[in-house]
Amino acid sequence: TLFRGEISSDMYEDIEEILVQTDMGIDTVMKLVGNIENRLSRSSKKDSAVVVDAIKTELLAMMNQTDNTLRTASSPVPTVIMLVGVNGTGKTTSVAKMANHLLKQKKKVMLAACDTFRGAAIEQLDIWAQRTGTYLVKHQHGADAAAVAYDACQAAIARNVDYLLIDTAGRLHTNKNLMEELKKIKRTVQKLIPEAPHEILITIDAVSGQNALPQVQIFNDQLSLTGMILTKLDGTAKGGIVIKIQHEISLPVKFIGVGEGMDDLLPFSNQEFVNALFE
């Protein structure tokens, strides 16, 4: 039990400390505490155990009911999933994990190496392609990322794959040119497969603080994201910022990353996530 005895004003300070340290943001916490104080003051129960349940209920409400399942193409075209996000947040590793996840479901998967910029980015994805037994479309280092995407879509259609996963280079949301490059990749994919990309997922590092919100807002503004992947949840960071993001943008978390291996990807559950905030 997190709190003992009668509900007190000290307790609300402890709640604030615990929740703020999950990175959900002081404004979210104050709103939540306000709602709870209101509710509990009208309730006859004075035991502190009631408080944790009240917080969890409130957090779930803040998270908005969002669909955490992966979209699939409605017609016999490959489902295109594009991974975007800030540098080092886990895009390439998440592409590998998703490929593995889909292969286990007996789906035909293809990968596209659209990070043509960073040193050994193509080699990194190539190794994952070999480990998962997936076909990788790649050009040389420094090639046009949109050209790779175009080739990959053509190959995916020709080979009749179920899923095409596109890995992109890390970039800051504040870099206008790099955001334009992503939009170009998206337009290129749309040329060949009009309703693609069916998913544009942003990776958010669980270690991120409040900056994850503008990251998601700007990426979403520019690309219309369909979901998030919350990575590195196997660390001590709680990733509470996704609560704030969901509260503001209603963007679902489709998966969580819980390690560096290809099996370390789990579907996101609002309830499990909220429970984990208190562990």
């Binding site: 400390e17 703020v20 340290q21 999950t22 990175d23 943001g25 002081i26 404004d27 800030v86 540098n87 080092g88 947040t89 886990g90 910029f117 960073r118 040193g119 050994a120 080699e123 990194q124 190539d126 190794i127 994952w128 480990r131 800051l172 949301h173 504040t174 590092d205 669980a206 270690v207 991120s208 603080g209 409040q210 900056n211 994850a212 503008p214 990251q215 590195k232 196997d234 660390g235 001590t236 960071a237 709680k238 910022i241 560096e260």
Partner: protein, 291 residues
Amino acid sequence: SLSDKLTKVFRNLRGYGKLSESNIKDALREIKLALLEADVNYKVVKSFIDAVKEKSVGEEVLKSVTPGQQIVKIVHDEMVSLMGNKAEALQLRAKGNRIMIVGLQGSGKTTTAAKLAVHFRKMGHKPHLAALDIQRPAAIDQLVFLGKQNNIPVTFDKNDKKVVSIAKKALEHVKNSDCTVSLFDTAGRLHIDDQLMAELEALKDVIQPHEILFVADAMTGQDAVNSVSQFNERLGISGVILTKLDGDARGGAALSIRATTGCPIRYVGLGEKVSDIELFHPDRMVSRILG
């Protein structure tokens, strides 16, 4: 900005009298909110606010500035004294410098190792890089690529499955060369992974580094104190490098890290190019955190 908010708070306080606990209560709350929004750790904010309160209460309200500006100055000065007053660059000796680069996954270690190598060469040193990440796919390729791109020798071995043995090879190469500073890039790892933290301790034993630099992402939130204090406890960190400061993250983790470990922040990463590294300026960081 914080100073606008504080000016508002003190709108009703006249130009005479003292700053008291009651009239600065709202100001302290504004400061707390601002620091938390800038990602400074909750506990660090608490003790920081206490320090500001102590310095503010009893202060004469000056006639030349508004009470809001007065408090801002107290906050600013308190933060600068925490962060250090000036840049604290790495002090290298003429030769034989050994530097270990450590940190969580994806924070920017490999890129930073190359940046530091080039930076030291500009200062007249002969740098050397050692590829000790044998776990991440193509990590060795990445450092070898950066070495080639910037004409820096790299010790690596794709067939050696023991990082300690590769470290020894690197030390041997450096000994038989005219290199003056060797940088050891390590695999990203979690501070709670006991086996991998023990691996770093074993590497430290073999390398006997003069510097162990913790590379942290500027967008790190509340968790900054957890990771850096574990790394510091087990290894002893001599300095910190804050990366991706070219974004718009406020960088409050810098204050959390400094307050928790006392470790100086040496450099900041300002982009993906090898030249995108600068000395850390505490006063600039303070302005950034205070918005």
